[in-house]
């Protein structure tokens, strides 16, 4: 039995998967002060087996970074370079601003220390580590009551001795009372000192918080085994998460993409674009038959260069506020009404600005009586009153103004999807849009129409996809090492030796998490580029089971050929006479646990009338300009069964989402109870 638990700012979602493939879901308000209270309550409500593995996604690290409330963190660097963290790439965040800004570094200048030491580009010592100075710095750390220390020396990924010596000087005399220590040679042994320093500092900044949080949770969960979701879409043990804390940042959105992709692949639609539209933001991710990763991750403007699922986020959601700007354009977002005061229709007296949710309500697209399963009544009168006011300022009829709000937010999302598809060389017409999150299923069909995406999939439980993704995730660890070798001069044996070292570390780590060799898969890859380029392409080899990883079977020439090919595909040119260099070695190690198949029921030819719960007028605008009310059938999602076919216009309501099926679109329920919606 596996239990996925996604703790969000507002709700705690639970998904329980039993050995027969039966899924049960639960949603309850997050207990903000101690999240374990709601988790424990949720587990009790579901009556989950005490031996179930709990896979947990937490926003502890993300929130600490957003609110800059992490540990008291210090940084130790090579002498002359303590400001690398602040200077960054010497760019400002905005091109046109009287007062340019840049993210505030997590470690303030007085806590950035430097020590004489230096390696050259071959990892040879130019200046030995000054131990006396090191000890002096360590005493300062103690005086300042530093909780966590990041150490980042130049070229330490080639020769980690100095960083390790510093750790010894901190930890050895103090044992368990020593501060946390994060070494850049362990967190991210890759070149580019700013990105490596930033990633190491992020890890140091959140590690003590994650550790305390997990300790508390483990005490509450008793004998249940706790695993933690990572931003790469895999899980790690709670123990490992304490030292690799930075990998838990952005685990929630990663869970969402993993869940959505798993559902779509099961339905035979593995070329998909995921659309997770929540209250304040929308996450989109493109999955061309697989979940894609990026090594260019950022969090609150700071580089976090650990492999993570490639997700594009924009500030547009159900709570996005609509405003007429000084120049007379209707803008929607990025300001959001959030949970407090919330949209106008939630009835909070301070909520006085129209949001996307309010516009949907005015258009009849949300049903006031069925919102959150009827648990929350929406105030239609109040919403219309504020909408009237906006419409007056727009000089438009009420429904046209509300439709305008939807068109603008859709055009923002359309641009986001174009960014991840068209701009990267993918044609959206060959993809399925997988819509989830509270508001995704409401906007998906019209968005798909604008992008000529031929199909929309709404999963059975669109409100808990992230927790579902956690249930389905494998254990996953990423290893990397900068080598900077000319591809033409390196032997396959030498390369294999380097891979072997990574592989042995990976094997030991996964053994420690309880996986045996038969469950372990290695996926080696090389980051390569033409000599002189400043960006790399990651060239993966096919996954190999158990024993051998690395370029043994296919020689280096195979990798180089694959690089030319990948370069041509991505940048539309390649030059086979140009020398190629190998920048980084990468190894992804997966610990696979058996997963039950989801329950499948053969679709039957059924009459969906049993699922009808009513009729209402909903506004649609087929010509995309003037909305008109059309009689629309209301269905209850729970009563829909495999084989049911619904003709638009229709609304499908369920506890945590509403699906809109426009006129000239039709939906069918597949064997996993997904809604597959296509133009008819």
């Amino acid at each position: 039995m596996i239990l996925g638990v996604d703790v969000g700012g507002t709700f705690t979602d639970l998904v329980l998967l039993d050995p027969h493939g039966q899924i049960r879901v639960h949603k309850l308000p997050t207990s903000v002060h101690d999240p374990s209270v709601a988790i424990w309550q949720g587990i009790a409500d579901l009556g989950a087996d005490p031996r179930a593995v709990v896979v947990h996604g937490t926003t502890v690290a993300t929130n600490a970074l957003l609110e800059r409330r992490g540990a008291r963190t210090a940084l130790i660097t090579t002498a002359g370079f303590r400001d690398v963290l602040e200077i960054g790439r010497q760019t400002r965040s905005e091109l046109y601003a009287l007062y340019p800004t840049r993210p505030v570094p997590l470690v303030p200048a007085p806590w950035r220390f430097e020590v004489p030491e230096r390696m050259d580009r071959n990892g040879m010592v130019l200046t030995p580590l000054d131990l006396q100075e090191t000890d002096a710095i360590v005493s300062r750390l103690m005086e300042e009551q530093i909780e966590s220390v990041a150490v980042c020396f130049l070229f330490s990924f080639l020769n980690p001795t100095h960083e390790r010596q510093v750790r010894e000087r901190i930890v050895q005399p103090r044992g368990s009372s020593a501060p946390f220590v994060s070494l850049s040679c362990e967190v991210l042994p890759e070149y580019r000192e700013y990105e490596r320093t930033s990633t190491t500092v992020i890890n140091a900044y959140v590690a003590p918080l994650i550790s305390r949080y997990l300790t508390n949770l483990e005490e509450k969960l008793g004998e249940r085994r706790l695993r933690v979701m990572q931003s790469n879409g895999g899980t790690i043990s709670a123990e490992a998460a304490r030292t690799h804390a930075a990998q838990t940042v952005l685990s929630g959105p990663a869970g969402g993409v993993m869940g959505a992709f798993a559902v779509a692949r099961m339905a035979g639609l593995d070329q998909c674009i995921t659309l997770d539209m929540g209250g304040t933001s929308t996450d989109v991710s493109l999955c061309p038959g697989r979940v894609q990763e990026t090594a260019e991750g950022m969090i609150t403007g700071l580089p976090l260069r650990l492999p993570m699922i490639d997700i594009h986020t924009i500030g547009a959601g159900g709570g996005s506020i609509a405003r007429l700007d000084a120049g007379g354009a209707l803008r929607v977002g990025p300001q959001s009404a959030g949970a407090d005061p919330g949209p106008v229709c939630y009835g909070n007296a301070r909520a006085q600005e129209i949001t996307v949710t309010d516009a949907n309500l005015v258009l009849g697209r949300l049903d006031a009586d069925h919102f959150l399963g009827g648990r929350m009544k929406l105030d239609v009168e109040r919403t219309r009153a504020y909408m009237e006011e906006l419409a007056r300022r727009l000089n438009l009829p009420l429904a046209t103004a509300a439709w305008g709000v939807i068109r603008v937010v859709n055009s923002n999302m359309e641009r986001a999807i174009r960014t991840i598809s068209v701009e990267r060389g993918y044609d959206p017409r060959r993809f399925t849009l997988v819509a989830f999150g509270g508001a995704g299923p409401l906007h998906a069909c019209e968005l798909a129409a604008a992008l000529r995406i031929p199909r929309v999939l709404v999963p059975l439980h669109p409100g808990v996809l992230s927790a579902l993704g956690m249930v389905l995730a494998d254990a996953m660890k990423d290893y990397s090492q900068t080598v900077m070798l000319p591809a033409g001069q390196v032997s396959a044996e030498a390369l294999q030796g380097l891979f072997h070292a990574l592989q042995e570390r990976a094997r030991a780590d996964l053994h420690a998490e309880g996986f045996d060799d038969t469950q372990i898969m290695f996926q080696p890859a090389l980051d390569m580029r033409y000599v002189g380029q400043s960006y790399e392409l990651t060239i993966p080899l096919v996954p190999q089971a158990g024993a051998a990883a690395g370029p043994s079977a296919p020689g280096i020439q195979e990798w180089v050929r694959a690089f030319h090919e990948a370069h041509r595909q991505r940048f539309s040119h390649a030059d086979e006479t140009e020398p190629v260099e190998i920048v980084n070695l990468r190894l992804k190690a997966t610990g696979q646990s058996p997963k039950p198949r989801f329950l499948y029921e053969e679709p039957r030819d059924l009459d969906p009338r049993a699922a009808v719960i009513g009729q209402k007028a909903v506004y649609f605008a087929p010509d995309s300009l003037v909305p008109r009310p059309l009689p629309t059938t209301l269905y209850e999602r729970q009563r829909l069964a495999p084989g049911h076919r619904l003709l638009g216009p229709a609304l499908v309501v369920q506890l945590d989402a509403t699906t809109l099926i426009p006129p000239d679109w039709a939906a069918r329920v597949d064997g996993w109870r997904n809604l597959i919606i296509e133009p008819c």
Partner: protein
């Protein structure tokens, strides 16, 4: 009914900018050189047939006003347009800015119309366009020394590449394969832009699209006028100086410098701003005549720098289009440093003089808006070129970088340290990347503490960047604000001027701001970039 549809306005804002951005993504993705791919030194834009810009995706503010000038030059050079035409140019005196910036302009033809209703344009900084030194940014006295000059030419005519012209261009540059790749990337971007605009016209109809474009221009103009209106009516003057003309300072330039240049130091830039209601004139009369060194700007750069300031005032929500230019008249005396005539050298007008123009326009506005305008930022890009032969690899190398400094403090708070200011925003090269690729070793890269000007709020600090050479090399520095300091405002102190030092056998000696020198192994170049000016009297130092 409202004559302007607020909803369509927002949607078309998205649509037009996405055309420019998709062009930019294609250009960045398919380009060869790191300067375009990673430093993102390029821009793309869409235009109406009358030359008004309707959207621009820019990473480099200096391209802001320069793109319309290129399209104007193309429109003036040719009157007949066929599908598949493409004009190329880099002539600073005919639509360009400085020679490395190669611009392309192409018409977008649609069904049922003979004349193109739209044009698209792209501009990219090419790593080398020939001339007397690698990188084409020399300490020159004539534009002919700076590289290959391309007047507006139809490089592609009705879909057919003019191979002879293409070959001629490639034969005149140091890295022809890279140039061919980067030029092809620009051409690919144009195909994307043309196609996207045709798609939009097919979907909405030409009349609609033209109407929406008109609305968008009016919208940007309206937003800009609101910003100008907030400036109190009046006449505001300010003047500042460049350090020198690149040849007159002691030891500057190279050994064969023309004697005639001696004494013509400290070129002046002066602006008189007249604000009346929502209209504003920026008059640069009183600025020095063109100088002998490469600091001359062409008119497009002066306009870009002025419009950059206006855009900062108008705020981030205003779309980048010609509407924002309408409320502002720019007057530049012909033949001056700010509207040089041929054959003056212009390479540094783009990168250095443009920064001082911004300082002067902001300085004048500070009198009108004392509670809004920040003190001067570092006012230079600190251009550094290193060339030589790598002893380990036995191959020649050329490396170019620009270095950040301090931004000015203002009523909103202290300045930032170690960042690129105003007219540029390109990334640095990581130290480890630099040492992997070139025979140099970075000894220090840190904030230059205390270099920001004092005041109620301190200016941002400059940086100290020290590079040790591991082999003999030629070093070219093109830097400013070594003599004149970035000014403080409202009682704030000026930022510390920059310094360039050569440390040879442990002994440091000052170098001029603009210089080309030979260095030996073990020599260390130490560049101290300027701090930003402080704001407010230091005696009110209560909130820092």
């Amino acid at each position: 009914m409202n004559p302007v549809d607020p909803i369509a306005l927002e949607i078309f804002k998205n649509l037009f900018i996405s055309v420019a951005e998709e062009m930019g993504v294609t250009l960045g993705r398919t380009a060869y050189s790191p300067n375009i791919k990673e430093r993102r030194d390029f821009s793309c834009a869409c235009f109406l047939a009358d030359g008004r810009m309707i959207a621009q995706a820019a990473h480099i503010p200096v391209h802001l006003g320069a793109m319309p000038a290129s399209v104007r030059a193309a429109l003036e050079s040719f009157s007949q347009w066929r599908p598949g035409d493409l004009v190329v140019l880099n002539d600073p005196y005919l639509g360009g800015t400085h020679l490395p910036d190669i611009t392309m302009v192409s018409p977008v033809l649609v069904e049922g119309r003979e004349d193109p209703p739209f044009f698209v344009a792209s501009r990219a900084h090419h790593a080398d366009v020939g001339g007397m030194s690698p990188g084409s940014m020399p300490l020159a006295t004539e534009i002919y020394q700076e590289g290959l000059i391309i007047p507006p030419i139809k490089l592609i005519e009705a879909g057919r590449l003019n191979q002879a012209v293409f070959d001629l261009i490639l034969r005149n540059v140091r890295t022809p394969a890279e140039r061919r790749g980067d030029l092809a990337a620009q051409m690919a971007a144009h195909r994307v832009g043309e196609h996207r605009l045709q798609e939009i016209v097919a979907h909405y109809g030409l009349d609609q699209v033209l109407r929406f474009a008109g609305w968008l221009l009016a919208y940007a103009e309206r937003m800009t006028r609101l910003a100008v209106e907030r400036i109190p009516d009046g006449v505001y003057r300010f003047r500042d100086e460049l350090d020198d003309d690149g040849f007159s300072a002691a030891g500057a330039g190279w050994s064969g410098r023309p004697e005639s240049s001696v004494g013509s130091s400290a070129p002046v830039i002066q602006a008189t701003i007249t604000v009346q209601g929502d209209q504003m004139t920026v008059d640069f009369t009183g600025s020095s005549p063109a100088v002998i060194g490469p600091l001359n700007a062409v008119r497009a750069i002066t306009e870009s720098a002025t419009w950059y300031v206006i855009r900062c005032l108008a705020g981030p929500d205003v779309p980048v289009n010609s509407g924002t230019f309408a409320p502002v008249t720019v007057v530049v005396p012909r033949g001056s440093l700010l509207d040089a005539d041929p054959p003056h050298a212009v390479a540094a007008g783009n990168v250095e003089t443009s920064q001082r123009i911004v300082d002067v326009v902001l300085g004048a506005l500070a009198q009108a808006l004392p509670d809004l305008i920040p003190a001067a930022s570092q006012g230079t890009m600190n251009n550094l070129t290193i060339g030589g032969t790598d002893p380990e690899r036995g191959t020649p190398f050329a490396y170019y970088e620009t270095i950040g400094g301090g931004t000015g403090a203002g009523p909103a708070g202290p300045g930032l340290g170690g960042v690129h200011v105003h007219m540029t925003n390109t990334m640095n090269t990581p130290i480890e990347a630099l040492e992997y690729a070139y025979p140099v070793r970075v000894r220090r890269y840190e904030l230059r503490r205390g270099s920001g000007g004092g005041g109620r709020y301190r200016g941002g600090d400059g940086v100290i960047r020290e590079i040790e050479f591991l082999c003999p090399a030629t070093v070219t520095l093109l830097t400013e604000r070594r003599r004149t300091a970035p000014y403080g405002l409202q009682g704030g102190e000026p930022g510390a001027p920059g310094r360039n030092l050569l440390i040879r056998q442990g002994k440091a000696s000052d170098l001029p701001g603009k210089v080309q020198i030979r260095v030996e192994p073990g020599d260390i170049l130490s560049v101290h970039t300027p701090g930003g000016g402080g704001w407010g009297s230091p005696s009110d130092h209560t909130e820092n």
